[in-house]
Symmetry: C2
Subunit: 486 residues, 2 copies
């Protein structure tokens, strides 16, 4: 009974069963990606409905793969929000492209944990190489070394951990508590920065009160004078400014902080400069977009997410660091069982908090090769052109207005019926609900200067001008009870 | 040119290209999983060799999927460490089982980010349900709610963050620095606990000096009296004991801390009790192994990794928490753009530091259904039986000794040639190198009480008695220059 070759019910599913199921899965994937546009973007499902159709307990006996795949097709696939739908224009539009999906599938088969070079030689070296390909595409200096994390939230957390390590003596060993000699470590970002900066402040024990959210200007860019004043005031109060987070492509409007000015401030004040370019970084592969990024090459760390706008399935977030040793100083710990004889190799576990590491480089390699650099640029440009077209339609329509500049592929806009400000907000909220209920499109919202604003975020490879036009028609034709043009 | 339907070079790869490539990938996966045993477990590749075969820059023009998949087959697949190999017995043996691989592939196609219920209804509800299936299989009380993280490192970090939140007033807002009124928040674990506890201490700003590594007894279990004494001493020193990490299945020897005793201490001392059962938790699906876990049902949080010993591809780590609101209090932040109209639903982003969340429940659902509960138990039992068999062979051989009890599927052992202690260590190190160089098996090592010890960790579904026997033959026949039996 010890030998799984001879014991039925032990071992993996039989090879011929797996092969047949894998081909069935290949067709399910192909059918889905080809036909996803036939679904409503937001599935018409109420909370609890899926749950009610799932058994209360795991089955005791094995179930056939055909049954499982069929349940996937009938219960799961129709009840997801279709991020791969051409009408998905909420948050940031993303695409799990075909090449990326296949890279992920093959990585799952290898099931490598590349925590050490020894436990994943090709994964480690491919990750270094493909991050360097991306670095070159973005026009960043050779000094930046990239590695892949799951999310930008983790990347920003790691960057601020490195900043803390650099500026708080012996913080690894002693921590932050019970050290009256420490000035309060203080971090700066704009009022448009992502909530992941807040989460990092909480996680690192720095505290939200030590995050200075600097006001942004009328174009939603961090106000450098206000930043300088805040730092000066904090220094006078014996605080310890340690880091500055510049956002290039903010979540609400995709605005760009003035990176060159902020790099000057960071250099003079000896702050760790972290650039959050999670969404918009991908645009820097097109030279014509680089001007907005000028100055980021002076950062200490930059995060950009190929899983956002470089057609790679979640998760794949690249963190470029000028001094990878700084990350190692913050986190590296090598217990005995992970000591290996190879000298001078990269051990990816040294750069972060997670020990386990999936082989995420494979899918990014597939994407960059399948589309080629020129193909990636063409797709980014197409998305930006669609956004510009939409913005021009909105601007030409008296009942609507564009609410922020459109540097990339995301448009903030709203209806402006001739009613009070509060009623306008309510109108737009209702408009969003109605448009999303059509199933043709999924838009999201934000607040800008206290006002409710809609967002159209283009980033899906399947999105065409036709989809954008249908979204626009839905917006104009929605009946929200107080169209000012009627 | 705005319409990607009509613009070549924009959009995803053509559907027919994708379908053909997906079927090719299905065969690559099936060939790999069927034939992985033909590879050397550790690939015969030197640092830099893969890198040297990769172009220095991304291609400008698109490359055909066939070329990319062929490069995968010839350059990547042969140069990974084969975690799915039946002779992989290092660290903890794992398996990316066939059903799990297909679940991962389909999840990649959906590319859902289930940060909110709204952005992934079925993924959110399936995650809750499948975690509850696992809870029942493990025999844990209904009070535990599970969610899936990438790694146990993150889970332990979240648990200790929740402990910090509970015991340090207003830590979210104020952080830890500059608060002389705070007693030093202090955490306890055994000297056998995983390095992820150390990393969490660093990350959270608590500092390594605030981690008390309590000595373990001769069976590598935390010594409860020593724990009690340490807490008492710390309280006298005005420290603030906040959490206790019990390990059920330590990394070196898979020893089990006395959970019932530790639960008593935690209750009396009002410590957050976190149980790290990343590896061994899976064994609790077999009632006959439950005795060793007794007391864990009183924990505040428990982490177990289906990606370790429940046949699910990395990453899939389940964190069970008795009071999920504690995690929310520690981390939840809802920026305007993520406010949704659904009331009372679970939004998975609230439970951790990462905003983005992959659809990891699908693969675990596939695994639990394809094998069934009884099939999962049979496989765990088969692995434990193989380990017992190996341990009995080692024990029967005068030149070798078993170095720790074998509660599960991992055996710590070493050769004991008749030489000095230092020479014994060197001998075992050389023995490990030689055996691993055969390509038939990959073992790892640890240090126990300062001595170099080998580890055989069984956890792959393809591992049979034949593989274990070949490993044993390789160990006995290695020529390390000073066999005491010769």
């Amino acid at each position: 009974m010890l030998n799984s070759e001879t014991a039925p019910g032990v071992g993996d599913i039989p090879p011929e069963t797996f092969r047949a199921a894998a081909h069935r899965a290949a067709d399910l994937l192909a059918d889905y990606l080809e036909g996803v546009g036939r679904y409503a973007v937001l599935p018409p499902v109420r909370p609890g409905e899926v749950s009610a159709r799932l058994p209360a307990a795991a089955p005791e006996a094995p179930e056939p793969m055909e049954t499982i795949l069929e349940d996937y097709r009938t219960l799961i696939e129709p009840n997801v929000t279709h991020w791969n739908h051409p009408g998905f224009m909420a948050y940031f539009g993303i695409t799990g492209s075909g090449p990326g999906v296949l890279g992920e599938a093959l990585a799952a088969g290898l099931n490598v944990n590349a925590m050490l070079w020894r436990t994943g030689p090709a994964p480690t070296e491919l990750e270094e190489r493909v991050c360097d390909w991306l670095r070159q595409l973005l026009g960043l200096p050779e000094a930046f070394k990239g590695h892949i994390n799951d999310t930008a939230s983790i990347a920003t957390f790691l960057a601020l951990a490195a900043a803390r390590e650099r500026s708080v003596p012996n913080v690894r060993a002693r921590g932050l508590a019970g050290r009256p000699e420490l000035g309060l470590p203080t971090v700066y970002c704009s009022d448009q920065a992502h909530s992941s900066v807040d989460k990092a402040m909480i996680a690192l024990g720095l505290g939200l009160e030590q995050l200075r959210r600097i006001p942004s200007d009328e174009r939603f860019r961090m106000d450098t004078s206000a930043l300088r004043a805040a730092i000066e005031q904090d220094r006078r109060a014996k605080r310890n400014p340690i880091a500055l987070v510049a956002t290039l492509g903010t979540t609400s409007t995709t605005s760009l902080d003035p990176a060159a000015e902020l790099a000057e401030v960071a250099a003079r004040e000896k702050l760790w400069l972290h650039v959050d370019a999670a969404y918009a970084g991908s645009a820097a592969i097109c030279p014509e977009f680089r001007a907005g990024f000028a100055g980021w090459e002076r950062a200490d760390s930059i995060v950009t997410n190929p899983h956002k706008w470089l057609f790679t399935p979640v998760d794949c977030s690249v963190l470029f660091v000028r001094d990878p040793a700084a990350l190692k100083r913050a986190f590296a710990l090598v217990p005995e069982y992970l000591r290996t004889p190879e000298a001078g190799v990269t051990n990816l576990m040294d750069y972060g908090i997670q020990l386990g590491r999936r082989f995420r480089a494979l899918k990014l390699w597939f994407v960059l090769r399948a589309f080629g650099a020129e193909g990636c640029r063409a797709r980014i440009r197409a998305h930006c052109a669609l956004a510009q077209a939409f913005a021009s339609w909105v601007a030409a329509e008296p009942d609507f207005e564009v609410c922020a500049p459109v540097p990339f592929s995301t448009v903030c806009f709203r209806a402006v019926p001739d009613v009070s400000a509060r009623e306008q907000d309510a109108f737009n909220e209702k408009l969003l609900e109605q448009v999303n209920a059509t199933g043709e499109v999924f838009l999201s919202h934000t607040k800008l200067r206290g006002r409710y604003v809609l967002r159209m975020a283009i980033g899906n490879l399947r999105t065409t001008e036709g989809h954008v036009r249908r979204a626009w028609d839905a917006l104009r034709n929605a009946d929200c009870g107080m169209r000012n043009a009627e």
